[in-house]
């Protein structure tokens, strides 16, 4: 029988997620300038990691699954960062 997760972990995860949702919602009402985006992204990434670790049982699974989970996001970052390297430097020409 595969190991089964204790329900308390699931409930705690759900609460953390709802708190994070409330946090991201409230922070949006404070004008932090550029930090609004950074805060929103940080909270969203935390929620994603929490879901992946506990709901999707990445925690305690093989290193290979960890790699597969991270690979997609890493490649997306490659796409975004190199494309932005074009858009940010377009205005540099003298």
């Amino acid at each position: 029988m595969e190991k089964v997760v204790d329900p308390k972990i699931y409930f705690r995860t759900a609460i953390v997620l709802l708190v994070l949702l409330a946090a991201t919602w409230m922070i949006a009402y404070i004008d932090l300038g550029p930090f609004n985006l950074i805060a929103a992204l940080a909270i969203a990434i935390t929620k994603a990691i929490v879901i992946a670790l506990f709901f999707m049982h990445i925690q305690g699974s093989s290193r290979l699954l960890h790699l597969a989970a991270v690979a997609g996001v890493m490649w997306l970052l490659i796409l975004i960062s190199l494309t932005l390297s074009d858009y940010f430097t377009r205005s540099w020409v003298q």
């Binding site: 879901i51 597969a68 796409l79 494309t83």
Partner: protein
């Protein structure tokens, strides 16, 4: 499958012919699903890229345009999806414990929350249509730069539309699984399929966790 004469542990009966044991089969299925989720990340990635590029190009128009979206429905939808993820996690747990009725109930509950999400989405889309925010369908924008605003709403409808399609597919899968669970397909050890469906549903929830702040909470409200 040749009828084996000596008693077989229920698990080995489930092993497909190309696998050696049930552990290898389940691990392979999980790896296959995670690779599929990586492709989904990149599939949504194209839209996240265009969102990023145009947000840096037309930041202030994005702020105004995002303020016109109904953040209450967006927030409620996020909560709905988070709770549905919780139910899904319990469903996977029930399938491993071979609790047939609990599993069927939880699957139906998750599907129900999915339908709640879709109906809230429908209400919101209708409201946006009434507010003339749908590109090409009576789009009106008094603010500064109508072109960029139309771009924002195009990206908004593309991302949430693609996500809605994935939620609909997810609901379909959940209903089929609920039926199969009721018919004892996932009893005595054949529970891996439920976990795979769970991975898909949690992924759909993660995508929404990014869509909500990026679309509804651009800048400060």
């Amino acid at each position: 499958m040749p009828i084996l004469t000596w008693p077989v542990s229920e698990e080995s009966a489930l092993v497909h012919e190309q696998f050696d044991d049930i552990g290898q089969q389940r691990e392979a299925a999980k790896l296959g699903m995670w690779i599929f989720l990586a492709t989904e990340v990149l599939f949504f990635g194209g839209l996240f890229l265009s969102y990023t590029v145009y947000r840096f190009a037309y930041g202030h128009v994005f702020v105004e345009a995002s303020r016109k979206l109904d953040v209450v429905i967006g927030g409620a939808n996020t909560a709905v999806l988070l709770i549905s993820s919780l139910l899904m996690a319990f469903a996977v747990r029930a399938s491993k414990l071979d609790q047939r009725r609990m599993l069927t109930g939880l699957l139906l509950g998750t599907a129900l929350l999915g339908c709640v999400f879709m109906s809230l989405k429908g209400v919101e889309y209708h409201k946006d249509y009434v507010d003339h925010l749908v590109p090409r369908m009576g789009f009106k924008w008094e603010g500064a730069d109508p072109g960029s605003a139309e771009l924002f709403y195009w990206i908004y409808f593309a991302m949430t539309g693609l996500h809605a399609i994935h939620v609909t597919v997810g609901i379909g899968i959940l209903l089929v699984l609920a039926l199969l669970a009721w018919r004892k397909t996932f009893s005595n050890g054949n529970h891996n399929t439920v976990e795979i469906a769970g991975l898909y549903w949690h992924f759909v929830d993660i995508v929404w966790c990014f869509l909500f702040p990026l679309l509804y909470l651009v800048g400060h409200r």
